[in-house]
Amino acid sequence: MFDISLYFIFLLGLSSYYIGKNRAKKNINLITETGGLESHYGMYLVIWTILPAFIFYLIWSVISNYLIKEATLGSIPNDLLPNNLSMQKLFLDSIIVVAKGGSSLSKVPEISVAFYQNFAFYSTLGKSISTISISLISFFIFYKKIDSNVRAKNFLERIILVFLFISSIIAIMTTVGIILSLIVETTKFFQDVTIFEYFFGLLWSPQMALREGQVAAEGSFGAVPVFAGTFLITIIAMALAGPVGLFSAIYLSEYASKNTRKIVKPTIEVLAGVPTVVYGFFAALVVGPFIRRTSESFGLASSSESALAAGLVMGIMIIPFISSLSDDVINSVPQSLREASFGVGATKSETIKKVIIPAALPGIVAAFMLAISRAIGETMIVVMAAGLSAKLTANPLDSVTTVTVQIVTLLVGDHEFDSTKTMAAFALGMTLFAITLILNIYAIRVVKKYREKYD
């Protein structure tokens, strides 16, 4: 893909910085009249040397890539051409592999291979020559333009604006693209499985036939047990992280000395930085077996994979989300409210309970929301510690499965890409996305409302 012409325009661009700068230095009136800097003219020349040529290069690449395939397909002798469209594509791919010096299992026609190689050679040659020429031409044109007192500063401002704009567009388009693909695949899924079955069905067992014609039971796609698993684990996690996070936030902001706070807060935040896979094997190898042994000693049936193990470890993981954010909002409750409360004779804990927590509540709720959406979306810990069986249970010692785990198991392994099983993963992903999105939007709105009140 990268060829000599790109190196050339890059080097030319690099040197044009100094050339443009020098040119500006010699033109005595330029700087005083336009109010720019010499380096602006350097950058100006760099952009004009590289950008048009590079864009041309990209366009040529895209077009020639399309043309070469069409033309090569046309060059295949009629008797060898498969009539199925996807087979044609495979055949073409083999030709290209052979043309690039690889080998292919299927026999490919010499004539097409030669055609492809020829086409590629001339296309690349033409591309390189014209890219270099364009770069040189525009270099000279704009080198001359520096003489005519062009305002490089304004031009650079505009280029920066365009660059920033494109960056944000890319971010937005990516999001939109992901959502669209989720929606499309989800709609396909609901052509095979009814919405009613998905949202209310109590049986999740997506074992569809792997190959057409193979006799197997129809898969069953009732998502209730899967979501129940997710919620069970989330509840366990929040039952741990909610109180611990909130109380440590209260301790940090209201009781701890400045020095203690300086040490403890970052230490708690470290928890958020531990890779989730580490939490995963901590849950699977330490907490899980520990819970099994303990519950067995109480005579309770248990396996080492349990909702409790995954939930507790996940709870530890999300403690800092709650404590850190809550600490921030509690701190931003104005000191005057504390004084007002103490002023009428309230004790510290009364003040915290009756004034500070209520005043900070919206922010605390937002912190909880973010933590919950984090817990719902978490995958690694549950994959390793919660199990795979989609059971509808409220027993925390049982193994359960979650939405994210099911997505992983649906997509890992080999099966057709457009099977119902694969699309079920998209449906699950879409549902999960909708839930966390709603939680996040709600959290953001609550936080915003809260900000307005005290700023």
Binding site: P334, S336, L337, R338, E339, A340, S341, F342, G343, V344, G345, A346, T347, E350, K354, V355, P358, A359, K453
Partner: protein
């Protein structure tokens, strides 16, 4: 006129912030059912001294108070003193109105509720109504007691804070520049209110406004750099001060 009774007897009080001394050896007697004004240039320690009277300075780690302050002949600087009791007897109104982000009703009911002063809801309702009436706010808010206390005007908020302080039925009300965030009309309302309140309460007010001190107070104390320079009847302080510093400050020559 009835014989003036001493409410607060301040004797030999020093206050330190860490190593820095903010109040030097202050002696002062605050009379019952009077308004006493604290005046003096910024940073002279008016707030610091005022905050000794309800031990608000306890909230600041580095602040140390020594000497004695007798409230009805009980030393309130005593380490073993019940702060909750003290602060119900000595209410405070702050410079910036600071209502809780709760309803108007709950703002006033806050103190009585935590101290369990009322037997039932109807008694609480009565206390709230009485306090709001004393603070001259009842007529303006009686139809919207359930709206947030932060949603009324600044002047109304300050009177709400006064009502909140009154609701625990204190003896003394401390006011630290209660009008500095208010416009002239709201200020006039609060000043009127102080005249009304002193019938039942003893009021100490910190102010930067000389006219205000002259208008509302019976006694005035002038501080400079942590020292009590002069203390006496307001009229005398403002017409014929003994100290040259007081004279300079009142006439606006420094400060």
């Amino acid at each position: 006129m009835i014989k003036e009774q001493t409410k607060l007897d301040i004797d030999n009080v020093d206050v330190f912030y860490g190593k820095k001394q903010a109040i030097f050896n202050v002696d002062l007697e605050i009379k019952k059912n009077q308004v006493t004004a604290f005046i003096g240039p910024s940073g002279c320690g008016k707030s610091t001294l005022l905050r000794c009277f309800n031990r608000m300075n306890d909230l600041i780690d580095i602040c140390k108070v020594s000497g004695s302050i007798l409230l009805d002949s009980v030393n309130i600087l005593d380490k073993k003193l019940d702060l909750v009791r003290l602060r119900t007897k000595v209410g405070m109104v702050f410079q910036k109105p600071n209502p809780f982000p709760k309803s108007i009703y709950d703002n006033v009911a806050y103190g009585p509720k935590i101290h369990g002063l009322c037997e039932d809801i109807s008694e609480l309702d009565e206390v709230v109504e009485k306090s709001l009436k004393s603070a001259g706010l009842w007529n303006e808010v009686k139809d919207r007691l359930n709206e947030p206390g932060t949603g009324i005007s600044g002047g109304q908020q300050q009177r709400l804070c006064i009502a909140r302080a009154i609701a625990t039925n204190p003896d003394v009300i401390l006011m630290d520049e209660p009008c500095s965030a208010l416009d002239p009309i709201a200020t006039a309302r609060v000043e009127e209110l102080m005249q009304e309140l002193k019938k039942n309460y003893t009021i100490i007010v910190v102010t930067h406004n000389m006219q205000q001190a002259a208008r509302v107070s019976e006694k005035t104390a002038f501080f400079h750099l942590g020292h009590l320079i002069e203390f006496g009847n307001t009229e005398e302080i403002f017409t014929s001060p003994n100290e040259i510093k007081t004279q300079d400050y009142i006439t606006g020559r420094f400060g």
